[in-house]
């Protein structure tokens, strides 16, 4: 007998206002880019279904407003996250400098069981702008930051030109899945932890195959 279930992975996207969080998400999920995005107010939400190592996975991606003042509204989304994606704009130093704050704030609000091993991913976005001439944060600088934070995986992306977006989100999904598995093993053995907002995902699909018996 084989047991198949759709695993739900909850991903939170954080970063300063205007770094391209909504654009990255939409490029990944809807494969399009537009100049006509509104500034995100409150939070937005998309899902994408994919397969990783033969597992059916649903990515539930929460896009948040970048302005600091909205952080207080984020608490409800942070809890139960499987992965946190930090985004900065390679052309704006301040958005890179804010990363420490976003990192810290997330851990504080989400309060994961083991903050040291909780999976983050860093995306340096807008590498297409002006052929890279306006870039102020070097790849090395970004990688050094990642190294200082338990080796966070790093991707340089362009939501506009669709560079590295798929690869980055694939990594996000994989990392989230690995984290989720680890959590399962540690805490509950074979029983999936019941998390915030998706108990309906725990419907198990049983299928009988003679070769499995």
């Amino acid at each position: 007998m084989s047991m198949r279930r759709r695993t739900l992975l909850k991903v939170i996207v954080l970063g300063d206002s205007g770094v391209g969080k909504t654009s990255l998400m939409n490029q990944y999920v809807h494969m399009k880019f537009t100049q006509q995005y509104k500034a995100t107010i409150g939070a937005d939400f998309v899902t994408k279904e994919l397969q990783i190592d033969d597992r059916d996975v649903t990515l539930q991606i929460w896009d948040t407003a970048g302005q600091e003042r909205f952080q207080s509204l984020g608490v409800a989304f942070y809890r139960g996250a499987d992965c946190c994606v930090l985004v900065y704009d390679v052309n704006v130093m301040k958005s890179f400098d804010s990363l420490d704050n976003w990192h810290e704030e997330f851990l504080k609000q989400a309060n994961p069981t083991d903050p040291r091993t909780f999976p983050f991913i860093l995306l340096g976005n807008k590498i297409d702008v002006d052929g890279g001439n306006t870039r102020v944060v070097s790849e090395k600088k970004a990688k050094d930051w990642c190294a200082s934070k338990e080796n966070i995986p790093y991707f340089e992306t362009s939501a506009k030109e669709d560079i590295n977006v798929d690869a980055a989100f694939h990594c996000i999904a994989k990392t989230a899945l690995a984290n989720e598995r680890e959590q399962d093993m540690k805490q509950y053995g074979f029983i999936k932890q019941w998390r915030f907002g998706y108990d309906h995902y725990l419907v198990l699909h049983f299928s009988l195959h003679s070769r499995d018996l």
């Binding site: 206002s17 107010i41 939400f45």
Partner: protein
């Protein structure tokens, strides 16, 4: 045809020549755009305009008198919708922003030209992300974007404690479609600092305490008015901060159809924030039977994308008016007395 009628008669400001924009200046997303606001017959609309003109007097001179004498008539007429050609003026009269403007000559100019704001970069970043599908705001550095920048910058200087907060752009943008920069600025001040009454005072303060409070109250109202749905929401772990925060932060101007947003604003300016709760509840009530069958993800999606018929102002608003919501102070009072009562039993 239908369209030319709408534009020729009472379109404020420059008339867009192309049919690719709707009556309000938004670029049409789809062809079928027979919005409900345009459903009123021509002669009926003209009659309404005459009534309104009589009520407010020349340049608004009779307004205060009329409101004092017949508040119920005013309330009823506002609930039916302010005629579009008078909307800008009436909004200024209702909110008291006219008086602010007259009491502060030259202040706006001073704020725009001579002061600098710590929020300038934040504002610039959002300018092209405010109503990007509206012709007035679409052109980079065009008159619309410039006005929007000036109003937001002026406000961030005027109220340094609050500064600029995302969401304000949608309020200012909406106002700028109906009045001059300076008028829009003072209306924003009237809203956020309080002139006659301040429906949004404190909304944008650090930590957004008022938004938090409204969301909390809304959750309770859902449970009270739509108990089954409320139960379903808590089973699915749906919380108003996942769908309703922009309702309160921008008073439905962020993503709702413009004809509906305008009608809500008419009432909002006269009656205050209660209408936001009522419209929110009416939306949920209208879609109740669909929502109750959806699971988390579909539910979130549905709560952010209501069907077109649900957002028809002539259906939704009467429903909203019929919902009785206790005034917020009464709610707080009751919560406090319940608490006191419970404490008196236990201690």
């Amino acid at each position: 045809m239908d369209r030319s009628r709408g534009i020729n008669d009472y379109e404020p400001g420059p008339v867009p020549s192309e049919s690719r924009v709707d009556r309000y200046g938004f670029i049409k997303q789809n062809v079928s755009n027979s919005s409900a606001a345009e459903g009123l017959g021509k002669s009926r609309e003209a009659r309404r305009v005459r009534k309104w003109r009589k009520m407010i007097g020349v340049g608004g001179s009779d307004w205060k008198h009329y409101v004092r004498r017949k508040p119920h008539v005013v309330k009823r007429r506002i609930r039916k919708g302010i005629p579009d050609c008078l909307r800008g003026l009436v909004w200024q009269l209702i909110s008291g922003s006219r008086d602010l403007l007259l009491m502060n000559p030259g202040v706006y100019e001073q704020l725009v030209i001579y002061e600098t704001s710590a929020s300038e970069l934040d504002i610039i970043r959002d300018i092209s992300r405010t109503f990007p599908t509206h012709v007035f705001f679409q052109q980079r550095h065009g008159p619309g974007q410039r006005s929007l920048y000036n109003v937001l910058k002026a406000y961030s200087v005027f109220d340094r404690a609050v500064g600029y907060v995302q969401g304000m752009g949608f309020l200012a943008g909406l106002l700028l479609l109906y009045m001059s920069e300076e008028d829009a600025f003072w209306l924003l001040v009237a809203l956020l600092k309080g002139a006659v009454h301040a429906p949004m005072e404190g909304l944008y303060q650090v930590g957004l305490p008022l938004v938090q409070q409204y969301l909390f109250q809304f959750e309770h109202l859902v449970r009270e008015h739509l108990p089954k749905l409320g139960e379903h929401f808590s089973r699915e772990m749906i919380n108003p901060s996942m769908y309703a925060s922009q309702w309160f932060i921008t008073v439905f101007s962020y993503s709702f159809p413009f004809p509906l947003a305008l009608r809500i604003w008419d009432v909002f300016l006269f009656e205050g924030v209660k209408i936001v709760f009522k419209v929110g509840l009416a939306l949920l009530k209208y879609c109740h039977d669909d929502l109750i069958n959806l699971s988390f993800e579909k539910l979130i999606h549905a709560l952010r994308n209501f069907p077109e018929d649900a957002m028809n102002p002539d259906i939704l608003l009467p429903m909203a008016y019929s919902i009785k919501v206790l005034s917020l102070s009464t709610q707080v009072f009751m919560a406090l007395s319940t608490l006191k009562f419970l404490m008196s039993i236990h201690f």
